[in-house]
Symmetry: C2
Subunit: 381 residues, 2 copies
Amino acid sequence: MSIENFIAYNPVRLHFGKGVTDTLGETVRQYGKKVLLVYGKGSVKKYGYYDKVLGQLASAGLSVREYHGIKPNPVVEDVRKAIALGKANKVEVIVALGGGSVIDSAKIISIGIANEVDPWQFMMWQTMPQKAVPLVNVLTLAATGTEMNAAAVLQNPETGKKVGFVHPLLFPKDAFLDPSFTVTVPKDYTAYGIVDLIAHALEAYFGGGEPSVVDRITLSIIRDAMAWALPLLNDLKNEELRANIMLDATLALNGLTSYGKTGGDWGAHALGHELSILYDMPHGATLSIVYPAWLRLQSERLPKRIQQLGEGLFGTSRVETTIKKLEEFFTSIGSPVRLSEAGIDASRKEEILNQMNKNQASGMVHGLNDEDRKRLVEWMV
Amino acid sequence: MSIENFIAYNPVRLHFGKGVTDTLGETVRQYGKKVLLVYGKGSVKKYGYYDKVLGQLASAGLSVREYHGIKPNPVVEDVRKAIALGKANKVEVIVALGGGSVIDSAKIISIGIANEVDPWQFMMWQTMPQKAVPLVNVLTLAATGTEMNAAAVLQNPETGKKVGFVHPLLFPKDAFLDPSFTVTVPKDYTAYGIVDLIAHALEAYFGGGEPSVVDRITLSIIRDAMAWALPLLNDLKNEELRANIMLDATLALNGLTSYGKTGGDWGAHALGHELSILYDMPHGATLSIVYPAWLRLQSERLPKRIQQLGEGLFGTSRVETTIKKLEEFFTSIGSPVRLSEAGIDASRKEEILNQMNKNQASGMVHGLNDEDRKRLVEWMV
């Protein structure tokens, strides 16, 4: 029942609902006239989101430079190039159009333009930014929660690291969440997004601190996502179902679920990142494999917490039943729960373990050692 | 399942936990050197909170003027006097030390000093403020949620009105919530605070819009408050129990519970305000009388919503059982559920009805007419 001391602060203005981008132009104009528009590999053009955003920026009389080609597992090299473009054009505001990879990249671009530091130095926590170019995002994928938080994850293929950076200057100014911008997300990535949001809630749940209203809220978010998941996957164009999952994803990682905790654990995420680096696996797909294994490992150490989780989610206090039911849920939405289901066979165990050990993948609250990782990989194959 | 369009924005920095006021001085200094300290009738002096706050402000080298004597049902006259004092002394920042009445008053003082308008004009929504003096609050009562929102309620004895004003300029800059500042709240007011926070959650729950994750969260807050209420009332000095109720109260009315709704209903609050005006009753005590009556009235019109409420709170789908269980809860914590329990006998029915009709007490979503109010008063006596 003890609530840990915390500071809650989230200045992002969230615009939620169908048609909210109708005010995008006037919103962006508050921050400047020279815009850097950042997006991914062009699906936003195919589905008309790009035209809508560009139309808004044009009608507000803004000049727009573009950086596109951000990869699904975003790499620092793109961020460096976008920073150079932004600096050369003295951009005053950034608009990120896309999912987590685009918005995360845009966050680091925003501090990269405003400070004379190589962006990987931020990611390595070697330098703190002093200022940031204002960032506005238009979300096209319900998953990471980055739209309303101050975190970003990037990968550096040269060093083989995928890492996160968190700083108040990374808060976007405005986030535009129109569920109709997500109806074109294919079934598999819709499912991975749901896994991701549930994993974020679980990371918060297994953070430091005792149960409080915050845990109740966290479990509410997971239950809600589980309730809407299958209906949505069977009706991908349904904007109302999209809206529910979109709101769940934002609430799962906008700070709320960590009030009064000492922070999330993030051990399962750290392990999942290693799988993404090795096999370029979608983030959500790594998490549905890692989390059941992680829960099996922790069932000896945190039986009471997992029992409470089972009671809150599935009405069971049996730990193994809880893990099985979670696996069943992931399977039901088409996300893998074993590496073999993702086409990675048991012969890769050594390679995976080496990668995880090399980067000492571990949690912030519940530490993992080499022996733990060996057991985890056995459960994952 | 339809989530209404909404904008979520809450820039308040919430400092939560024992000892957080250790950074009060440096926090206030960011905003200016000339401080107006606003508080109530002196209990903050008796229990040492005043000394702690003054010590912090002094050690930060700030000059302090004081306005004290804010009443539990705050009146505009005090606000006018404080504005005059603030203007005469060119105060740059306001520190409010107290509960809802003090912080609500301080919010209107902050726009009153910054704009050349009689404060009652804001309360009547006749003039919008253009700026505000920065406001920092130190909370001493878990109840109203005002510490982290942009609303204020004031009473005008001359016109017999108790009304609310909401504006983004009313957001405090920082809110300091140290549960140890609330351990001296007596049993009855602790209970009224719990009623108030539950009533806020209910107003949100009965706002416009269909069930979503937000309703799940709202019910989580109510369940949490109900779970901690009796343990706290039997152990008033327990800071951990105080912390749980304090966080519940803040979350019940900081915007979260209205995401995706068209706004709360506030009909029960409007009715309660009339009882406060007539008999100077504590706000929470009016709500435990009004809400059961309001639910009885709405049981014909909103059976499904009340059924879902019962399922979420008490595991029953029977409407009358839900209302009875809510009454039992209020009774168990010592808050009245009938006017007679508050010493107001049935001979006052006419007087109450006239007052409620005169001000057309009604909800924003579920309107009330004279006939409704007649039935409501019958249920309240």
